[in-house]
Amino acid sequence: MSDVQLALGGASFDGLVKIEELAGQGMITLRGDLGDTAITGPVREVFGVDMPGQRGTAFADGKGALWMSPDEALLLCDYDEAQKLADDLAAKLSDVHALVVNTSDARSVFRLKGRALREVLAKLAPVDMSPGTFEPGEVRRTRMAQVAAAFWMDDAGTARVVCFRSVAAYMFGILSSAADENAAVNHFAN
């Protein structure tokens, strides 16, 4: 798929954290009752993860599921597989009330790497990023500066931030500004 062009062509920035526009992130939006095993069962079959609970995340073998609301999940996979997996899941859910849409192109994903990622996020989102309060395993949908966004931590030094594709340049701009190497707050213990 050489014709694939990310919103920013794979931009990156190095400061308090390293920021990279991620290529190859597949995303599928699932609308349906996440408490219904008729829905979570097929999700497990196709994505290999149990549907996480409120604001939870689940990952396995490059795939994953993010709890977005009681009736919305964002399923993660390889970009090239997304349409196929979306079709598979939709087929398995054909008899239940659910909507599956490949939204891999609708969003941009940034990876933040570095110890200061809590601080960088705390400059932009009204979210308590304190260790112990926000940890890997949780996804937070919120506002970052002036746009809607979601983020989660993969581990203590890695986070992923998702926003709409049209505002990728804005998101990259505010993240880079927050990650200015001379702008450390040194607020969090680690």
């Binding site: 604001r55 609301s69 009681p70 009204p126 949908r141 919120t142 506002r143």
Partner: protein, 109 residues
């Protein structure tokens, strides 16, 4: 700046994550309703000094609408609850009655 806990995703969201949706528990009147019913539905709003029931949406968040009961003077939040209900839950009403004896709001007391 208000802080309301979204009953759907559990986040204690600050006002910048929220969208205010006005008075709660409106009954819709459509075709066939009288002018007065329709006028009341569309335009007449409670504006109490005290206990109020409102609609809010966790717009920069899980996207869910929910209800909040709050005091418009002190900004005390008595509770937030599901949008899929025609009236406030009884345990919340009891809590409000205890804190604000004699309160009245539309036909709720």
């Amino acid at each position: 700046m208000l802080l309301l806990t979204c009953p759907y995703c559990g986040v204690a969201a600050e006002e910048t994550e929220l969208h205010a949706g006005g008075e709660a528990h409106l009954k819709r009147f459509g075709p066939g309703s009288t002018d007065e019913e329709f006028q009341t539905y569309l335009f007449q709003r409670e504006n109490p000094r005290g206990v109020h029931f409102e609609r809010w949406r966790h717009a920069n968040g899980c996207g869910k609408w929910f209800h909040a009961a709050r005091d418009t003077v002190t900004l005390e939040v008595f509770g937030t609850y599901s949008a899929q209900t025609l009236e406030p839950p009884e345990d919340l009403l009891k809590k409000i009655r205890d804190k604000r004896p004699g309160f009245e709001w539309r036909d709720i007391a």
